[in-house]
Point group: C2
Chain length 429, copies 2
């Protein structure tokens, strides 16, 4: 049987694991695909560097563009990351009829449309399971298993670094900076942690998930994004006292009328009884609600060389089988053309802690302000007294615009000394 | 666009939901498939019965055999269940080149080979996502997403009835019979609960899972099966005292040398910190360990009309798309031809509670017996004293044969009054 020839772009943590698995499992992979898979070349930035994998040195090249356009290459695996040169290389490969497997969430979230169009034009496959939640089979279930259902909401812990930090803060009482430092020491966070802690990484994944869930096109720019750098040990303790835990969530939710949807990434309190609350350390998990299927959850490792390579190899087998059968897997599905609504229209609940003067009538004036903005209060708890009095309020569901206006109003109330913390509450409706 | 014509076999709880969804979501389904789906007929046992769904009465027929062989039928959905007439009807349909979507775990586990051969011969698709764990997308991830990885173990809660019963026993201290009665009242258990509580339902699912995980052919007969009818409130309390919870597990595990595997269904203690321990009520969850992906978990509703119909519709979309593209989805994959090893070779740990005489040397004689059978002890706890003394022992990993021989030896020791309980321990290695 004629082998399928695979070009690999990138030979870092994921790339070396892809090579190792292709080598170690070559017999199994050949049986599953129906033909052997053969490495045609590996594009790297620099030759001669020592690499943690056994591979014929002649396969390395710095000329990625020539590699992806070679006639003897059937499938291209892209694990370089970033926008360029990844985009140009993927488009080159797809335009020449090759199939592409990529783990590049940033590129898919910024300009997925260009890639999908190139795949259509070239009649090849574009698979990207590894781009969201690493090893967890998530995109294929969304794209295919739930194709007969209607997804209403996706709630996901899709960034392992921030989950590690928040879990440490929750279990040890550490501050954000101490937890971040520990995550950096252990290799869970990078020296510059911006992409993770400011939610950029999660926002790219949220855009990809929303696009698949709602059969519409979504870019990272459309995702409302807030990071976790302002979360304090006090916020975490306050959440714990109320039976909640703070997680950085990627949330994609259809509006009540089903005509639009929201996509956002922000820290939120979820009840400790929610399946996502038990997701510890750097694990990822994605909770999906669909009209008929009900509540589903997918859990596993969201990053790392071997887990990501597992997802890449799964795609490689599918793409290889499709090529042998002369067919293609499911295309981009954007038929619904639903619009993303602005954050202000998103309906959420809110937890607010207010430092207030302890005198008669304070609660009445605070309650009046909430009522004025049509935000109804679910629970109020008063803590301390005298100068240290604090009101802890959890609202019912309201639009984010109404909640924001309420917070602005609170800031102007003379009896409110400070808003100690504000956080959205998810997962208990 | 010419519609794809669908024949439905069975119009019970799942069938009526399939019809409802095909109707309510017809526009979405057409967009996702690429052509409208049209109901060609519905085979039922009796005409004229009142059904909880709107459908043209002319579509009903009692002649299922004629329906599945009609030239204008492209796809057959089988939700009758049981071996016959389901098998003959599916084989008839597949032999004539139609594609089949089925939820029939019993048939797949007893004689899947016949169905897969008919699909190959007819060049049609055989999809069966709904047969295991209802709405949870599980088989597609195992068949496709993990196709580039090597699955080492599957641990699953795949029967909602028994999970509901065990969860009630754990949370309320109820006896097995009281919990069963409550499950029956709530409709979670049938009047004759044998298939669930004796593990037959879980064993069929275990056979299907093992076949997919290890790329080998497995039948329900090869599954070692024990039910939950002997579990007492004392067992549950004893597990709780040790930090464990009792679940009915379907376990498929590769042997250490990778050449054989075991498939079994039995109650087991798992640590309360294990992700499966938090699976409550009638939910299902399947924990998968793969060499590269690491630990994955899939969670959701394992039964019910709408959840099962969601899985059926997901398959229907895939099968419909394949037909339009003139191709087929992944075939049965049995290339590995691994053998199922006997239960005696399965390696597990064991929790034993012994009623013993409280006199010097008892522990020494018990420990000696374990050592004689090469079973090493991890922890021993002595409870009570005098006539009520109890030894609670948890072993290290040993073969089931050695553990069984040890239990037989204990029964013959004069200092052991009774073996109060024996249970395997899983999920903490």
């Amino acid at each position: 049987m004629k082998p399928l020839r695979v070009a690999l772009l990138g030979c870092g943590v994921v790339g070396t694991q892809v090579i190792r698995l292709m080598h170690e499992q070559s017999a199994d992979l050949a049986a599953r695909v129906g033909a052997p898979l053969e490495l045609a070349g590996v594009a790297v930035r620099r030759l001669g560097r020592k690499r943690d994998v056994e591979v014929d040195p002649a396969l390395f090249t710095t000329d990625a563009e020539s590699l992806v356009t070679r006639d003897d290459v059937d499938i291209v695996i892209e694990v370089i990351g970033g926008i360029e040169p990844a985009r140009s290389l993927i488009v080159s490969a797809l335009s020449r009829g090759k199939s592409v497997v990529t783990a590049n969430k940033a590129l898919l979230a910024e300009d997925g449309a260009t890639l999908h169009e190139a795949a259509r034009a070239g009649n090849g496959d574009l698979y990207f399971e590894a781009s969201v939640a690493g090893a967890i089979p998530l995109l294929r279930p969304l794209r295919e298993s739930l194709a007969g259902d209607r997804v209403t909401r996706v709630l996901g812990i899709v960034n392992g670094t921030t989950n590690y930090i928040l879990d440490k803060m929750d279990s040890t009482g550490a501050s954000f900076l101490d937890a971040l430092e520990e995550a950096q020491t252990l290799g869970y966070a990078e020296a510059d942690p911006t992409a993770d802690v400011e939610g950029f990484d999660a926002a790219a994944k949220a855009a990809i998930l929303a696009g698949l869930a709602f059969h519409s096109r979504v870019t990272a720019e459309q995702v409302h994004r807030e990071g976790i750098t302002d979360i304090t040990a006090t916020d975490v303790a306050s959440a714990e006292a109320m039976g909640y835990v703070i997680k950085l969530l990627a949330i994609c939710a259809r509006s009540d009328d089903g005509r639009t949807f929201g996509v956002r990434v922000h820290p939120a309190m979820i009840p400790r009884t929610h399946p996502l609350a038990g997701v510890r350390e750097a694990y990822n998990a994605v909770f999906v609600e669909a009209e008929s299927a009900g509540q589903l959850m997918f859990y596993g490792k969201g990053a790392g060389g071997a887990p990501t390579a597992s997802a890449v190899l799964g795609d490689l087998v599918a793409v290889g089988r499709n090529r042998l059968a002369g067919t293609r897997g499911p295309e981009e599905s954007t038929y619904a053309h639903l619009a993303v609504h602005p954050m202000g229209e998103t309906v959420t609940r809110c937890h607010v802690a207010l430092d207030v003067a302890d005198k008669p009538g304070v609660l009445a004036r605070v309650a009046e302000l909430f009522a004025k903005h049509d935000v109804s209060i679910q629970t109020v708890r008063q803590e301390g007294h005298g100068d240290d009095a604090q009101l802890v309020i959890v609202t019912h569901r309201a639009t984010d615009a109404a909640l924001t206006a309420t917070m602005e109003g609170l800031r102007e109330l003379d009896i409110v000394r400070a808003i100690a913390s504000v956080m959205r509450v998810e997962g208990d409706d």
